[in-house]
Structures are given as structure tokens and as C-alpha cells.
Homo-oligomer: 359 residues x 2
Amino acid sequence: MVGRVVMPTRPITIQDVALLAQTSPSTVSNLLNGRVGRMRSETRARIERAMNELDYRPSQVARQLRTGQAPILGLIIPSVANPFWGAFAQSVEAAARVRGYQVFLCDAERDPEQELRYAESLWSHGVRGVIFGSSPLSLDHVLGFVERGLRVVVFDRDIGDIDPAMRSIIDSISVDNECGGRMATEHLLDLGHRRLGFLSGPLRTASRLERLEGYRCALGKAGIAPDPGLIWQETANENFGDVEGFELGRLGARELLRGPASCTALFAINDMYALGACAGVRDLGLRVPEDVSIVGFDDIPFAEISQPPLTTVRQPFREMMVPVVTLLIDRLQGANDEPGEHVTVAPELVLRASTAPPR
Amino acid sequence: MVGRVVMPTRPITIQDVALLAQTSPSTVSNLLNGRVGRMRSETRARIERAMNELDYRPSQVARQLRTGQAPILGLIIPSVANPFWGAFAQSVEAAARVRGYQVFLCDAERDPEQELRYAESLWSHGVRGVIFGSSPLSLDHVLGFVERGLRVVVFDRDIGDIDPAMRSIIDSISVDNECGGRMATEHLLDLGHRRLGFLSGPLRTASRLERLEGYRCALGKAGIAPDPGLIWQETANENFGDVEGFELGRLGARELLRGPASCTALFAINDMYALGACAGVRDLGLRVPEDVSIVGFDDIPFAEISQPPLTTVRQPFREMMVPVVTLLIDRLQGANDEPGEHVTVAPELVLRASTAPPR
DNA sequence: CTGAAAGCGCTAACAC
DNA sequence: GTGTTAGCGCTTTCAG
């Protein structure tokens, strides 16, 4: 092929622009940074013309090296394969965008190691604000970065347990997971169910433990002794991507329903598990909700579309994240230094057709 | 509150390490970059000790400014809310990770403007390899960056139409979308359907147009004149996030089924639309597949779990992306400069329970 | 085998 | 109003 060879040209710098516009780099920089207050409009026009002519793109890398900050937020989530986190990420991005920030999305796949690696990498790329969607049990590794100046927002976890000095510069927000677990369980109890299964993957996050606690608490209040045989928790598989949420829910439902402790209702740790459980119930020739009632958690879009539509505990993440992202950016810009605090939001039980009284 | 005040400390630099290890920055840099061939092991030990002691983290920003490259890949996708792209992103990340690259995930929400902004931002942050998951009709804006040295992989689109000189440094890969559209349509035709609806959002991407072409082509071969009334395309809503895939599919199915041109089968542009369409069919009191057959595209995990399980055209993205990500990184590292080429992969029709012969 | 020095592109004092 | 200058933290010749 005798095509013209594409030769990467030397990048255009602020110097080139200054030269062409017959001015100095600092003036160009001033324009770049919006300090146009007392700039002769003619100079400005010359610079803008030069920029266009050269198709100049400022190097963020150089800028960062100088300023120590990038207008970027890191967002570390457990799994992009779970649409809950996809939608979650979109709401964070939207909130960041209105402030001129971009989002560096990191899928840590529920692996604390990876989470840490990402935090490290974000830090070293000049990102100074990070949002944790997942909520590792221990925040210790993260705290190291906070000490260096990283600004952090933690979703899905109360941080009441950590060092007050640290806590005061971390914001955290979550739904009341225990309450959510209780609501789901009480709903099932109210319908008349007495043997309720709990379906979950590894209980490695604070939120999962809290949901389990809510389940236990509701049972206790109803005078039902918790049966460990009804709490199904994937353990064999140390690899807990959310792609497998379906698979695990399906498997768990089958095992719980076939086992000796057979139950009439299932509360799943999230909608992926719940939807998988629906399939597991069908695998056994049973029907939802006639034979088995199922409640999920999150309210992903598919929950409504699914057949039967899924009863679930909704997390209003959009309403939650917009203010908290705004706050994070304010902090990064030094526009807010009130001590951080934890906000708890009430979840909402969404009644649909996957639950009914037992036979 | 009288807590100790957390004071961000001055970042540790390579100088600090050198000073403490009683050597020079360049020697530290050599170690950092694996040039330990002829370094006295004692020097090395001293440096390592110093690094640990100071908890030193090299600044990627500074390194980048120097080297002009970051070990990062950009991945621009149409919508993280669509699990297809979530899973897609995971496979790209996995492939990148084995080569020590991280992935900067960008959700452009099917907006060419945003796509461009992200490409720009990635470029300015030193990212030199970008994967486009979405496939804008025009690649012109991207080409500007390619001219400057950006390495690009395009998924989901044949690039046969662009300047050969450019084409030779772009890799592209896609399933044969037209073939996929044809397979879906032929399957429906084989079952005995004669009035087939086509359900899509805005036909702004190459792949969507190709799928439509496959549909048309199959109808043509079967001697059926295409009826424009059977091609439903969302137009009113210029905001085409994939969250709305469900909504649009649902709406489209209802309109098509209620309209004058009523049909017995639907081919949807992707699984989100198809699953939404299933709900739309139920809204009308009809059943899938007894009254209406539905075929999707992608084979997202939900497709199997859904009730009824969805017949769909599978894109084997995992098998497709691993080699192509590897190739991209080879190119970035100068380990491969064969001219780029387009690879077309055959899609696979996955037969499930959402299709059946018409009444 | 190790060190000194230049400079990547930009910003922010501080002069003029 | 605009220009000069000194780095940000790292890599990379090139001397020693």
C-alpha cells in the first residue's frame, strides 16, 4: 500500500501558541484559566485565533504536575456487570459533570486488593477525590490515603466505627440497610410466611451484614428462632463477580428449596440474586409467587420488567449521590470544611408481584 | 471536637528517597524502572529500605509528563446501564490487567459530543490507546487524534469506508451485524411468521443500520415487501440512554402491536429493547411467545434468566476483545506495526423460549 | 555502577 | 496588562 505515512507530530504547546499570537506563555495560561478580567480583548482574540489555527490542546498532565490536582473524581464500584452500579455510576457522573469534573470509573470486582490498587493508581494520577461504592469491612488501607490528603466519600456504610479524627474528613452515606432488611422480612412475615430463607454471597461488606441483621431482627420480633439452615451463603467460590449474582441466586434458591429446611419465602441480598432465585424456583417446577415469594434489594430497572415483577427494597441512589458528589467537589475546592458526617437515608419497599401469601 | 488535625503532608519525592538512601535520584529511578541489571545489590537494598520507610509512591503524573505515555487504556462505551457494556468492560479490563494496564472507563451515553470530549480528556491525560465500544457513524473527530498518535480500536464497526492511510493504523472488530440481523429474521420467517416488526432507538450507529439491513435483506429473500409501518424507531426522545432501552422497547412493542400493521413477531435492536418489548406485550394482555415472538441481540445474562428465556443473537465479545486489547497494547509498546485490519466475527443465534410458530 | 543536569508543558509569583 | 522566571517530580543522556 502506497499511502501517505501518518506521522505523529510534535504536540503543540503553550509556547507555540504564545509565539504565534506574539505574546507570552503566561498570558496564554491566564486566558486558559479564565483570568480574562483585565486582558485586552484584542490580545485575547489573537490568542484564540492562534489556538484554533494550531488546534492546541492543553496538557492536563503538565497542568496537574503543577497544580497537584486534576478535575477528576475516582469512582470505585463492586461490579459494572450489575446494572445497579451502572446506574449508580451514571448518577455520579451526571452530578460531577455539572461541576466540570470527569469520572474515572474503576471496577474492583469486590476484591479489596483491587480496590486498594485502584485507589493507589488514582492517587498517583492526581485524583484527589474518590467515591467508594463498595464498602469494604475495613477502611484501614484507604485511611492511609486520607492522611495524605485524599478526599473520600463512602457509600453504603456507616463509618461510626473509625477514628474520629479521620471520620471528620470523610463523608459517608447509605440507606439504612438494617431497616431495609427488616422491611423485606416483615413484609414476608405479614403475608403469613414463617420459614424465610436468606440468600447471599460472601458477607464481606458492611451493608450485607446489616441486611442480614435486619432479617434476624424482624424474625426475632415475630418470635421466630433463626434457623442457620435457612441462611444460604455462597462460600465455595472465592471469585465473587456480580455476573454470578444470577447464578448464585439460582443455585442458592434450589439448594434452600430442596433442602430439609424447605421454606416458602426468600429474601435475597440484591436484585441479581433475587432474579436468579426466581429462575431457580422455576427450575424446580415451582412458581413465583404461588409457591415461593421472593424479595430483592436495590430496585434495578429489570426488577419492574421481570416476570413476575419483583418486590424489592429500593435504594434511592440518585437522590443520595447528587448532594454528596457536590459536597465532595466543594471540599476539593476548599469551599467547604465542615466536619464530615454520615447520612442515613430510608429505603423504600416496592411492592410488586413476586410476593404473596403462602399456600 | 478536639481531635488531632489531619494535615496533608508534603508528598514524598524521588529526591527524598535518594537522600535517605544516600544515593542519587537517577539511581532510584533506575530501580523504579527495573533497570537493576548492574546495580550493586547493597545499593538496591538501601533504596528499597528508604522507599518503605517513607512509604514512597512514584508520581505517575510526573512520569507521564516525561515519557508522554501512561499505562492506561481508555474505553468509551455507550452506556454502563446496559449490562452488555458492563460485561464488555470487564473483559477489556481483564485483558488489560494481564499486561499491567488499567482502564479508564467512560460512559458517553450515546452522545457523539461526549464521546469526543472524553477522547480529548483521555488524550490530554496521557492516554494513548483508546477503545471505542460505541460506533459513531462518523469517525472524523477521532481521526484528528489518530493523526497525533492516538492508537485506536473500534468495536462494532467496519472501517472500510475511511481513508486507507488512517485505516492502516486502526484496528477494528465487530460481529457481522448484518448477518446477525438476517439470522434473527430468518429464524422468525422459518417459524412461519410473515409480519415482522423491527424495534430500535435512533439508528445512529453503524451496527444498528447493519442489523436493519440484515432484517430487510432476509425479508427480501423471502419475497416479503418491507413495510415501513413495521419499523419502529424512537425519534421523539433525543436523549437515548440505555436505561430507557426497556422503556422504549415496551413502548415500541405496544405501538406496533396496537397499530394498523399488527405483527406476530418482533426483532429488537438489543436485549434491553427485547426484554422491554416482552413487558409491552404483556401490558396488552398478550403472551410471549404464544401471541408474539421476540428476538433480541447481545445475549446479556438477563436473557437467559428472563421469563420466558429470550431468543437472541449472541455477540461473543469476550473472545473478540481479548486478542484485540493485547494487540493494542503491543502497538502502544511498539511491539507490533503491522497495518491494522478489520476482523469480522460470526454472531450466534441462541434459541430459547421467546420464539414459537404463530398461531 | 552512580551522579549531575536538562527538560517534559504548564502555572503563579513577581517584575516591568 | 503582559512578560520573565522558577519550579512541579520524574527520566534520561552523558560524565565520571
